[in-house]
Amino acid sequence: MVVVIGGGSAGLGVAWDLLLRQIPVTVVESGPMGRGTSGRFHGLLHSGARYAVVDPVSAEQCRAENARLRHIAPSAIEAVEGYFVSVDEVGESYAQEWLKGAAAANIPVEEVSRDRVLEHLPGLTPDVRQSFRVHDAVLEGFKLLEMLTTNIRSRGGTVLQEASVTAVHTVNGRVSGVVVRADGEDRVIPCDAVINAGGPWAFQVAQLFQDHLDMQLSSGLMMIYANRMVPHVVNRLAPPGDGDIFVPHGNTVILGTTEVPQNTADPVEPTRREAQYLQSLGAQLFPEIVRWRVLRAFTGVRPLFQGSSLAPHSRVSRDFTVVDHGATVGFQGAFSIVGGKWTTFRLMAERTGDAVAAYLRVHVPSTTADVVLTPPETQKRQHTGALVCECETVGVGDLEPRLSEPLADWRTRTWWAMGPCQGTVCAHRGIALRIPHDGVLAALQDLREFRAERERGMRPVAWGDNARQWALNHAVTGQTLAEGAVRKIGD
């Protein structure tokens, strides 16, 4: 048995990898699936072209993994086109070097005429100089997380949510079990190895192994626009920087991102100033962006790895690292997987799986590159029934079969309350469905947290029409629903 700490792409990926090697696994996630970096990214399935100059290893990995993910998880990938466009001299002069890098990494690049790119990308700046088509696409992160979870479970693996590992037991310096706390109770799960896939929290998890991971966390801001104003992935052709990626996602488009060093693993609340900055960069590609309806802003935390301070480690790539805590501090059977990106999650899982399998002396190679994931039954929507969420067309029929899921998963799996109104007209409807199931107090607490979370995303971008949505939200929740005053009579 191997216990994996963390239910993001890395944790679920390595659990899936080990299961396919016939190694039993239990994934322990302290919140909803993908609450960390995996659920807070721009949704880009990299072709590798972005790293063609700055990180050839990553570029090559992305190229290969892109093709593999299209093979093993087609339903989680929207095969739009990807474009790199240069809009100034910097971009134009970078193009030569970039084309060379792409060729070296075997990344297919096709030049596209100006007329054609303007036709395919309405609203793109007329300043566009060169444009190239690449194999970028859209990776639907929450869908893939759910697919991994259901596939792990159907192969006999265990995935625990709202549970955390509080201690790791050893016998003779080797991992023998973990203490898992769930619903206020501790229990011991015996295991032979434990894998830290804690993402930005990995340095905290590593303390359970008495090791210190030196991580460099940075925050990236993203903005979601309410409509799908850009139909394909668009990258600015220039050395990778801030605000240079547009990714269509469902009915919306996401603009990313920034890079601001930060100290905590929890995502920070975006500010109006940062959002304005990001939008001003986006306007260099799509000048009309200042008139697009913003939906919300959010941040994700990049868990970049600096090193394990206590002993040397082997760096797998500039991108991600597998740390064997047996080698660093003598804590046998404990591993950490740090860094990485969604596009290469399978490769990270395979490399980590290789290390863990070798430790367990299981000589079965990874097969994750070939085994196609089965889409969950519930993804095949039947009859939606009466509408709850009008923006994203989510009905009672989509929500009721999932009442036992925590609210956050309910939301990310059905897309309820994710649209332009941000729950203004549907949050109370969804919560009303949950009240008989969850009980009054828990459901109303969920509603409060949901409102607070939406508020964090809306307030920094409350300008123009979005400010009016924000005001409508306050008026409806404050007056008609009087949610702020929910209490017992006499309290």
């Binding site: 500010t271 109006r272 100033r273 959002a275 304005q276 939008q279 200042v290 029934g385 009466a386 509408l387 709850v388 009672v396 203004t424 007209v425 549907c426 109370h428 409807r429 919560i431 009303a432 469905l433 009240i435 008989p436 009980g439 009054v440 107090l441 459901a443 109303l444 307030r459 409350a462 300008w463 123009g464 400010a467 009016r468 924000w470 005001a471 409508l472 306050h474 008026a475 409806v476 929740t477 404050g478 007056q479 008609t480 629903l481 009087a482 949610e483 702020g484 005053a485 929910v486 209490r487 017992k488 009579i489 309290d491």
Partner: protein, 384 residues
């Protein structure tokens, strides 16, 4: 056209000010870019429903009086009861019966089944002075009103019993129906008969009023509710829902009609420029008369929020607040006494959504400006 007063905006503040001026004999024109936001509300007018800790206030005036005198809006602590009674009388004249205003708040039920205080509400809305057993009547497909959930919350919050029942669907029903579709159905021939027939066939709990979502008709709701109550020998009332809010539509239709009957023209168009005695519309039309802005706050579009956090008046362009440190919920005007008076609930420093006092703000700003206009008309001898 000879006009004494031009009111910009046709939300509750604009309509109320127009009505007061009409009653005082003025010729009023309403200029608005849009049809106003009244249909976003259920129709209840709140005074002061919560204190700063979010605890309900049952006697709003006592609470208000106990506070340090606030500089604005002027007149809020004087003549308040007369304002409310005037509003109640005005509504009654328009055909909107009201639960009578008194010195205290009443309790009303929200679509999630908890109680909140409210001050003045049309009679179709359920209000009570103490929680008691109730019956929530749901209709299929209306996800805003889930009786089982409401009953759980109501019982938790009050300790009183909440019964639930679901109606079946009429043959005309469609899965996409919202509260307004139901209301139009019940207004149309056969709708009321259908509901009456269904209810007569049900055995109801022995106690408690029958509480419906706000769907009991648009034009004929009041009479129908009275008829239902008579037939079923118990109180029948509604719970206002979030938009689509049928109560607000009822109020809007009656109010518009009353003003049209008093020869108030509604001029459509965006005001491009406003001066104290004239507005100029974007297409060049002009209306010359004393100007009052009732253009609303951020939601109504009277205040525009720019990306850097600057908040500007949409008509005059004047910045009313700066920067991201201000709480957007409380931006608004400092006073109603500027060269172009402003009425509505966007009084600086107040958060009407949080404390449930939007109605009080509208009443007090409208009356303050109305009195000012009356003084002016007496002095100048204008108004017929």
């Amino acid at each position: 056209m000879a006009t004494d007063l031009v009111v910009v905006g046709r939300g509750p503040a604009g309509l109320l000010l127009s009505s007061l001026a009409v009653q005082a004999g003025a010729a009023v024109s309403v200029v608005a870019d849009g049809l106003g936001t009244l249909p976003l509300w259920g129709g209840q007018w709140d005074f002061r429903s919560y204190d700063t800790d979010g605890a309900p206030i049952t006697d709003p005036y006592a609470w208000w009086r106990a506070r340090e005198p606030h500089t604005s809006p002027p007149g809020v602590t004087r003549g308040w009861l007369a304002y409310w009674q005037h509003l109640a009388a005005l509504w009654t004249e328009m055909g909107i019966a009201v639960n009578p205003p008194g010195p205290n708040n009443q309790w009303t039920v929200t679509p999630l089944g908890h109680l909140r205080p409210t001050y003045l509400a049309p009679s179709w809305q359920y209000t009570t002075d103490k929680p008691s057993p109730v019956i929530f009547v749901g209709v299929p497909g209306l996800t805003d009103f889930v009786p089982t959930a409401m009953a759980r919350v109501y019982e938790w919050a009050t300790g009183a019993t909440a019964y639930t029942m679901m109606l079946e669907t009429p043959p005309a029903w469609r899965e996409t129906w919202n509260a307004l579709n139901w209301a139009w159905f019940l207004d149309a021939p056969g709708g009321q008969e259908w509901l009456m027939r269904v209810l007569r066939g049900r055995s109801l709990p022995s106690e408690g009023p029958l509480l419906f979502p706000q769907i009991l008709g648009v034009d004929h709701a009041q009479a129908f509710i009275a008829e239902l109550a008579k037939t079923l020998s118990r109180r029948v009332a509604e719970v206002p829902l979030p938009p689509v809010s049928v109560g607000g539509i009822r109020v809007q239709r009656r109010w518009d009609r009353w003003l049209r009957h008093h020869a108030v023209p509604f001029i459509s168009g965006r005001v491009h420029r406003a001066e104290p005695d004239q507005v100029v519309l974007a297409d060049g039309r002009k209306v010359t008369a004393r100007v009052v802005l009732a253009t609303g706050g951020v939601l109504g579009g009277g205040l525009l929020v720019e990306a850097d956090g600057t908040v500007r008046d949409a008509v005059t362009g004047v910045a009313v607040s700066f920067g991201e440190h201000d709480d957007l919920a409380t931006v608004g005007y400092l006073e109603t006494t500027g060269p172009i008076p402003v009425v509505g609930r966007m009084v600086k420093g107040w958060n009407p959504d949080q404390y449930g006092e939007g109605g009080a703000m509208i009443l007090s700003t409208v009356h303050a400006v109305h009195q000012r206009l009356m003084r002016h008309s007496l002095e100048t001898g204008t108004w017929r």
